[in-house]
Amino acid sequence: MSEALLEVEDLRVGFAAGGLEVRAVDGVSFSVAPGNTLAIIGESGSGKTVSCRAIMGLLPSGANINGSARLRGTELIGLSDSEMRKHRGSDMAMVFQDPARSLNPTIRVGLQIAEAIRTHHTVSKREAQTQAVELLRLVRIPAAERRFHEYPHQLSGGMRQRVMIAMALACRPKLLIADEATTALDVTTQAQIMELLLDLQEELDMALIMISHDLGLAASYADEVIVMYAGKIVEQAPAAQLFGAGGAVRMRYTRALLDAIPHMERPAHAELPIVGGRPPDPTALPPGCSFAPRCHHAQDDCREKVPALAEHAPGHRWACWHPCENGGAA
């Protein structure tokens, strides 16, 4: 692996809520190399979005952020808003789940893209508009000149997401974070947008972090996969090592996620292996492994000591006292 583009070390994010500190992200470390795709997987509330928003400097001022995140050697945590703004957009950009809510409904989409360009570069309005049309072409929007003059409501969900991607790419960032960017889209549109993102990644030599709840998406499109639970990374490995025939999932939570996915190969009406309960309350985390209360294999040590995330096999890190053997589909 070449020199890392983004290096995150021991990132911690807490929010004050009624006198208690809610630890949303608890000691997360990872790195992304240029041109690579990292998937961060987890359920709602696992801390995947908060981690990335902390890196982007998009959390509310009440958030208590500790640790380090370096983009090409520059420390991002603790930067002032104005310093952060120099990086955000130009070095790194983010695409969100709901393009309808991220776009201004009263402004033509082309002008919104042109505005994004002029925020970062001192170019004339006309020049910005020419670049905006080029960006629309870059994200494969047919009849870009015509679409430039349309309002967000005139575009389909897939088109709007393309516009958001165009805007994010306005300054050719080195890192693009896609936060559930295809979750609200139909499968055929999702496939189109993912293909587009991977094509653009190659063209622009970008690193891509995709945040998703969908392990299938991670398996299909990512190089490296991180699974988060209750604010911590519980397993991390190259996608090829985790999934498929030779795959070896070790952490019990990852296994449970994989087993719960509806599967074409299963006969109709098959009973699904289920995990009861729900993720722990972040203000009252259990003393041991956070997943222990829901885990079928939890033993006494799981409930007492927190398992550390350690590299047990080359490139494969997991945090579990009693990991699955041989991928353990049981």
């Binding site: 359920e43 709602s44 389909s156 969900g157 897939g158 088109m159 139909d186 499968v187 055929t188 549109t189 999702q190 496939a191 189109q192 993912m194 293909e195 709840h213 969908d214 392990l215 299938g216 998406l217 398996a219 299909s220 499109y221 996608a239 090829a240 999934f243 498929g244 025939a245 449970a256 996620l257 994989l258 087993d259 719960a260 996915i261 509806p262 599967h263 074409m264 299963r266 006969p267 109709a268 009406h269 098959a270 009973e271 699904l272 292996p273 289920i274 995990v275 009861g276 729900r278």
Partner: protein, 367 residues
């Protein structure tokens, strides 16, 4: 797959039979001038046998939710017939319709949107019992406890809660408890688990399966997630732009899809098998507007196999395998198309079946 039922329809008769259901909405310009007609559901027919689960898959705007609501007569379909347990629903009004609908219940996507936030769980589940004058206060109380138990919620813990004190999965289970309170024979689930996290989704799906076994429930299960639909359904119907393009037994539709659209949908699903991954976006472009749907086959504008015939003539459903119907002039099958009269179409059906990438020999790709 038929399960005996306490209040069943005559043997061999479908529980629900929809014939040529059409639903259209007029779009008006500012000022009220007619701008067009959205052909949301166009001549859709299907049956649900007692104890059977029929899955309907389709993308946003394919009309699957509109179809479900047309079955429920809310709003009433523009034309066509919906026969439920031997009764024609489209002719019923007022109280008669209410009585007929008692045996047909709905579960929607957003549980919080369908549960009154000011009510407690007990009142929410009890409401249908009161509305249909079932039992007295004491027996209803007992019944609510039973119902919460069926969906896996401890009545002692949850009956007094408000919806906001529940997680998404718990709230959806309350909605299910309410839906089965009157012992319906049919449950229509419209994206009922789509907004739930995958572990919670599995819990709710198991609740559906248990109800099917224990109460002999039939389901119409509507979702955009094909794998999900496959898992719960005996038969699957694929909907595109207001029409059913393929229906058949679940296994048959997934293993040997006959319609190019079904094939495309299947190829678009991200899989946890890396080998099967990255089917490079097999369905190109976006669905056309339902206001002026394409002539002939509605999928032809995105279909790699489309020819002039597809534009001129609408393909009618044909049965190419037992119980497996497809509405396509050039289905993905090795056997020569039954409509051999189409002359030049002959050659096209030879190649394909296994490889979704196969190109028909005589047809030219349209955009």
């Amino acid at each position: 797959m038929t399960v005996p039922q306490q209040n069943a329809t005559p043997a061999g008769e479908p529980l629900l039979s929809a014939r040529d259901v059409v639903q259209e909405f007029v779009v008006r310009e500012r000022g009220g001038a007619k701008a067009g007609v959205v052909q949301a559901v166009s001549s859709v027919s299907f049956d649900v046998m007692p104890g059977e689960t029929v899955g309907i898959v389709g993308e946003t705007g394919s009309g699957k939710s509109t179809l479900a609501r047309a079955i429920l007569q809310s709003p009433r379909p523009k034309s066509g017939s919906v026969v439920f347990r031997g009764t024609e629903l489209t002719k019923l009004r007022g109280r008669q319709l209410l009585q007929a609908r008692r045996n047909m219940q709905f579960v929607f996507q957003d549980p919080f949107g369908s549960l009154d936030p000011k009510w407690r769980v007990r009142s929410i589940v009890e409401e249908p019992l009161i509305a249909y004058h079932v039992g007295n206060r004491a027996s209803r109380r007992k019944r609510v406890d039973e119902l919460l138990d069926i969906v896996g919620l401890d009545p002692a813990r949850y009956a007094k809660r408000h919806p906001r004190e529940l997680s998404g999965g718990q709230a959806q289970r309350v909605a299910i408890a309410r839906a089965v309170a009157l012992e319906p024979s049919l449950l229509i689930c419209d994206e009922a688990v789509s907004s739930l996290d995958v572990l919670i989704q599995a819990q709710v799906l198991n609740v559906f399966e248990r109800l099917r076994k224990d109460l002999g429930l039939s389901y119409v299960f509507i979702a955009h997630d094909l794998a999900l639909v496959k898992q719960v359904s005996d038969r699957v119907a694929v909907m595109y732009l207001g029409k059913l393009c393929e229906t058949g037994p679940g296994e048959s539709v997934y293993r040997k899809p006959l319609h190019p659209y079904t094939r495309g949908l299947l190829d678009s699903i991200p899989s946890t098998e890396p080998g099967a991954a990255r089917a490079s976006a097999t369905v190109k472009g976006e669905p056309p507007s339902p206001i002026n749907p394409p002539s002939g086959c509605r999928f032809r504008t995105r279909c790699p196999r489309a020819t002039d015939l597809c534009a001129d003539e609408e393909p009618l459903p044909r049965e190419l395998a037992p119980g497996h119907l497809v509405a396509c002039h050039f289905p993905l099958t090795e056997a020569a198309p039954a409509a051999a009269a189409n002359g030049e179409a002959q050659g096209t059906a030879q190649n394909t079946a296994a490889a979704g990438t196969a190109q028909p020999t005589t047809s030219k790709a349209v955009s």
